[in-house]
Every structure is written in C-alpha cells, then in structure tokens.
C-alpha cells in the first residue's frame, strides 16, 4: 500500500503534502492493529493478538526475513537469486555442524560461511560466466540439496546413525526484556479492548528473545543504511539499476555484484542457522527449510525490494504461519474477517481520493472475501499453511504495476560490452 500512496500522492486531488515515510509506516501498523483488535472483539478469537501467537510469529518470520534480506542484497546488485533455497539448505548443515561442536555462535558463523559458499558459486556462474540467473539458481538449489545430504550422511551418521538428522545443537539462552515483558503480560490478561491486543502483540516481541532475533531485526535498518546511505550502497545499487552507467563512472561492477551475491548467500545461510537454532527443534533436519527461501523471495517482492517492506512481508507471513500453528484453521478463518475490514478501509481511502475504480475493486474484493468467510466455518489446514504464497499471488496480481524492482535485475551484463 505504501508504494501506491507514494505514486499517487504528488498528483492527488486532496493535498500535495506527503507524510514522511516513518509516519506512514506507523499509521499503517496502527490501522492494522486496530483492525485486528476489532476482529478479536467481534469474532472472539483471542489467539489473533495473544503474546503466544506473536512469539511464534517472530520465530517463524526470522528465517523468512533473513532469506528475504538475502534476496534484497542480491537483486539490488542486479542478480536474481532463485538459489536462496539452496543456500539456506547449505546454511542449515553448516550451522548444525559447527553448532553441535562449538555452540550457537559458531552455528551462526557456520551457517553464514556455508550460505556464502553457495552465493560464491552463484556469483561465479552469473557474474563471471554470465549464465542465466534463473538457471544458475535452480542448479544451485539442486546442488545445495545434494551436497547437504551427502555431508549429512557422511558426518552425522556416525553420531546419530540417522542421515536425516544432526545431533542436538546447543541453543541460545532466551531472555526477556525486564519490566516490559511482565507489564505487557499483565495488561494482556485483563482482556481490555485494544489495550490488551497491543500488549499481547508487543509482549510477544519482548519475551523469550534470543540474540539471533535481535540480530535479525537489527539487520533490517543496517541493510537500509548500508544500501541507501553509504557510498558502497549507492554503487552496489547502481550496478542493479544501470551497470553500464556505473561502469562508465569507474565502478567495478563485477566486484560489487560479487559483494551483493556473497552477502546474499551469507544472509540466506544465516536464515538456515535460524532454523537450526529454533528453540522448538534444535538441530539439522532434512527438508527443514520447506521452501522458506522462496517465501523469503516472495516477502521481498511483497515489500517492493525495500528493507522495511520486506520486514512487513515476512511479519505477515510469519504471523499467519504462527497463528495457524497455534490456533488452527478457525483463527485463520477469522483473518478472512480482518481481510474484509482491510478491504473496506482501502475502499474508503480510495473514495477519499476520488479514485472510483480502485475503490470499487477493493469493495468488490471485500464482498468476495466476506462471502467466503460467511460460507465456511474453518479454513482447511492444507490452505492455511500456504497463505503466504496465496497472498503473494494476490499482491502480484493487484499491485504488480506499482512494484519497482531494480531495473536490470536478472539481465546479463558483460564488462565493456555496453552500448
């Protein structure tokens, strides 16, 4: 939605002045929470805003967020990275291998190194040899899976006698932010409208944290700062927007693309490490990534190739996933109600801007969603788990024109052959 506002604001018939970016994000978040609170009150699904759900959401969003950041770094440098999934798988093995021997911090490093190795391979293929990015990404996912299974059967079998599992990895000690955590829990228990909802969601964010969660969230502003407010970032992004122009200004495009893809692989590997260090299930498990590399990519697209949007995307996906795990199909069913409310808010927004067609579309979508909500009692589990993918498809279908990917992402570039 932010992208929509950005485009329309200067020509909007109501007013010319735009809210600053942070205020708009805050407004969107506030409206979102308010809508959730209304849903909770009207449907009685308390789990929608419980601290437990928020906590589960944080754990589930972390790997997606890290994979998405990986996609961001790579695509900003102009290299499409479909191989995120493979790099993430490599990261899970690296993290488990280093983690069971030397503890959680080593696990992080192991994940990063193995993910970055996958990234290096992608960079060699796509940058040095100008192989098609999608082709290389698919091949790296195949290869990452193979290498990981091979290494797992080689290294873990003597210890666990099971090629699909690593020995248990020591996790981080969890900590809560003193004061805030208890205060939020107390407020949540009072079950007051809005206040308890906010307290529940916030409480989940500050309870039972691990250093990895803090690192993951810190990486969002860090990525933003590095990419948009440093010389390094400007050059890296210029390689994704117009490598020939960058080259003409003396930027070593190959080097920056290598940087971007290496960082991308490292972040995806860190996402793998986040899965291995997940408090619920400590260790490597075959197939544990479950396509999260691709969901990370989806979160990045949802976020319009920007760190904050990407965070919103992974938060949405993590939230739906966490809700489905904790409260099942009926809670997800209540989300349909939320979606209806959102559609109404969007429709009102467009009416206020006198954009009748989008308003009608939003209202129509709301009616459809509400009809679905009304006609079924629960969302079948099979669909609830794939909500992120469905949301991505809908966002792409509705807002593809407003999305603004780096101009030459996915195109091959050869040094000195620009025109």
């Amino acid at each position: 939605m932010t992208a929509v506002a950005e485009r329309k604001a200067p020509t909007g018939p109501l007013r010319g002045r735009r809210l600053p970016g942070w205020a708009r994000s805050a407004l969107v978040v506030a409206i979102g929470i308010a809508i959730l609170a209304v849903t909770v009150t009207l449907t009685g699904q308390v789990q929608l805003t419980s601290s437990g759900t928020a906590q589960a959401a944080v754990r589930l969003l972390l790997p997606i967020l890290l994979a998405g950041l990986g996609g961001l770094w790579s695509e900003r440098a102009g290299v499409v990275n479909i191989g995120l999934e493979g790099m993430m798988i490599l990261g899970t093995w690296g993290a488990a291998w280093a983690g069971y021997q030397w503890g959680p911090w080593a696990a992080l490093l192991g994940g990063i190194v193995f993910g970055a190795l996958g990234g290096l391979l992608h960079a060699v293929a796509t940058v040095t040899f100008a192989v098609n990015h999608i082709v290389s990404g698919v091949a790296i996912t195949l290869l990452g899976l193979g290498v990981t299974k091979y290494l797992a059967s080689l290294v873990f079998v003597p210890i666990t006698s099971n090629p699909r599992e690593s020995p248990r990895v020591e996790g981080f000690t969890e900590f809560s932010i003193p004061g805030l955590s208890q205060g939020a829990a107390a407020l949540e228990d009072q079950q007051r409208v809005v206040v308890s909802d906010v307290a529940g969601l916030l409480g989940g964010l500050v309870t039972d944290l691990t250093p990895l969660v803090v690192i993951g969230f810190a990486l969002v502003p860090i990525s933003y700062y590095l990419l948009w407010h440093t010389r390094f970032g400007l050059r890296l992004r210029s390689c994704g927007e117009n490598p020939v122009a960058a080259e003409s200004l003396g930027v070593n495009v190959y080097r920056y693309k290598y940087f971007g893809v290496l960082i991308s692989g490292g972040l995806a590997g860190l996402g793998g490490a986040a899965l291995v260090l997940n408090p619920g299930q400590l260790g490597y498990l075959e197939g544990q990534t479950g396509g999260r590399g691709y969901i990370g990519l989806a979160a990045m697209i949802f976020g319009n190739w920007r760190p904050a949007g990407l965070l919103a995307g992974s938060a949405l996906f993590g939230y739906v996933d966490g809700l489905q795990l904790r409260a099942g199909g009926e809670a997800v069913h209540a989300l349909l109600y939320t979606a209806t409310l959102i559609a109404v808010v969007v429709a009102v927004y467009w009416v206020a801007r006198r954009a009748w067609v989008p308003a009608a579309v939003a209202l129509g979508a709301g009616v459809v969603v509400y009809a679905v909500y009304w006609s079924i009692d629960t969302v079948p589990r099979e669909f609830a788990s794939y909500a992120p993918q469905l949301v991505t498809l809908v966002v792409l279908a509705v807002a593809a024109q407003y999305l603004r990917p780096p101009a030459t992402a996915g195109e091959e570039y050869r040094r000195g052959e620009g025109d």
Partner: protein
Amino acid sequence: MNRVRTVLLPPALAVLFAALLCAVALLVSGDNPLTALAVMITQVGEGTTAVDIVNSAAVYYLAALAVAIGFQMKLFNIGIEGQYRLAACVAAIVGGAVALPPVLHTLVILLVGALTGAAWAGIAALLKAYRGVSEVISTIMLNFVATGLIAFLISTDAFGVLRGNNISTQPIAPSGQVPGIPLGDFGRIFGLIFLSAALGVAYWFLLERTRFGFDLKASGESPTAAAAGGVNSRRMVIIALLLSGAVAGLVGLPELLGRDLAYTLNSPTGYGFTGIAIALLGRNHPVGIAIGALLWAFLDKSALALDNVGVPREIVLIMQGSIVLSVVVAYEIVRRYELAAEQRRVAAQLRARAAEPAGVGSAGAGSTGAGS
C-alpha cells in the same frame, strides 16, 4: 567439426568435470571412485534396472519437453512441478470416478491431465500477459498452492479414500489403465512411453517446421522484432505457457496408468525440477533432451546400487547438480571461445585485405556481427 565442438563438446566436458568432482568427493570421504563407477555400469545389466531407466527417462522426457517449450520463448516455467502433480491428482480422481469403455477411458484421463496442467499454467500465463507478473515468481508460488490443493483434494473430506494406512484416490478401473509391454525378466515398459516419443516428434515438428514455431522462437529471441513482424507477443506468451502446462499435465500419467493406478500422498515429486535440469542439458533439442533424460535416469538408478555397496547415494545428487551447473558454464565458455576465434579470423582476413589493396570482396565482414 565446428558443430561437434560447439554442440557436443560442452556437455561431454561437463559430465567429465562432474565425474571428476564426485571422484574427489568420494576420495575425500574414503571411498573408491573406480569401484563406484564399476558398480554404476554393471547395475544396468542387472534385473529390471535397464527397463526402469527407460521408464523413468520417458517420464523425465515429458517434463523436460514441457520446460523446453517455455525455454524456446525465454519463459521459465518453474511450475512444471505443481502442474504435473495437480494434473495427475485430478486425472486420478476423474479416472477413478468415471466408467467408460477401454480406449475412451484412457483418452479421457489423458485429456483431463493435459487440461488441468494447462489450466494451472494458465493462471501464470494470464498474470504474465495481463498484469506483467514474472512467470518465475508466480509459478513458484503456484507450486506451493498446488501442494496444498492436492492435500485437500485427496483428503477424506474431499475425494480421498482410506486404503490401509494410506489416503489415496479411487483406483482407476482396468478399462482406463495402460498396461505396458512385458519384457520377461527385464520388467515391463510403460505403454505411455510411446506418448513421450510421439510428443518429442511433435515438438520437433512444431518448432522447426511450422510458422507457429518460428513465431515462438522469434518472440523469445527478440520481442520487438517479432512484434514488428506482426506477432502478438501477449498471445504467444499465453499459448506457450498453456502448451507447456498441457505437456506437464501428462508427466505423471505413465506411472499413474501403468503402475500406481491411484494418486496418493506418496506419489512421486520432484520431476518438475528434474525436467528443468534435463532441458538445460539437452539444450531444448528433442534428441538432446532424450539423451539427457536417459543419463539422468541412469544416475538416479545408480543411487540404489551405490547404496548397496556402502557408497553414500547422495553422491548422485551432487553429480546431477554439478552436471547442470557445469554444462551451462561450459556452453558459455565455448561460446566465448568461438566468438574470440571468429574475431581473430575476421581480423586476419581484414589484415590480408589491407595488405593487398585490390581486395577480394567482403566475405569476412558480414560475419562480424553474427556472434555478438
């Protein structure tokens, strides 16, 4: 000679390189690569392996053809995976539900499979043509959604039945099955292997001998040039993806109609990605794809044989992955080498012409632009 160098050398080099890589990996892990190689080769003659390889290759061939149709237009249909699985599931449901005379029953199942695959690909096609959504992303997402849809369709709430501990669709009656050709001790060849072969020929004919094939390749090579030639690129996108999806819809059927007879939660997965790899190996050429499919199936079967002698079977996955990556790199290296050779040759001709002012015509000058 030149053609041999550009077309056949790269894949040969890639296979060799991948084999060397795996040999090193095996040496590091303390296994003997030569034993592994011997086991891989001798297994072909044992039991039903040879027939199994051909059967798998027939399935992979269909998947790779589906990918190749998209590749011809520079479309990446990553969604073969979801398309073939959903199509096999729906075809199994319909095939188990209807009662028809023998040949008609089979035809209906084939048709349902192809239509389902095309419909699922059609979502991505419409999104691409009318909303500008990259088919790569949309098909990846549709793969996940297909998994959910299949789980729902064969759950007991929908069309599934409980057989033992396994949920599956209603088994297809003998009138719909394609029994296959028994080869005594060697096993049984899928009857639908002929469908694979026929589609291979049809693919070749369509692309090389029809105007449609020319338009398809032209819009892949240069959309602007194709548009100038009167090709509606939006229509081509939709047709290409629908065709690709229709072929993908057939991928699961040889096994469904010749062996499994019902779709279960354990029905095979992963053929879509195998198809992408094989299409790359075979460079979208029908014969190349056939060779790639046989190679891939051979490697797959080797995993079992290797396991029996204590070599980690996962080495096969590494081999397959590194073959794909090295084959695309090898083509690029050869392409660059050819380009450089061409430039050298032209430069030599130009020098020769400069040396003798009389000139011998412009035979060399025209070819400079061809490679770039």
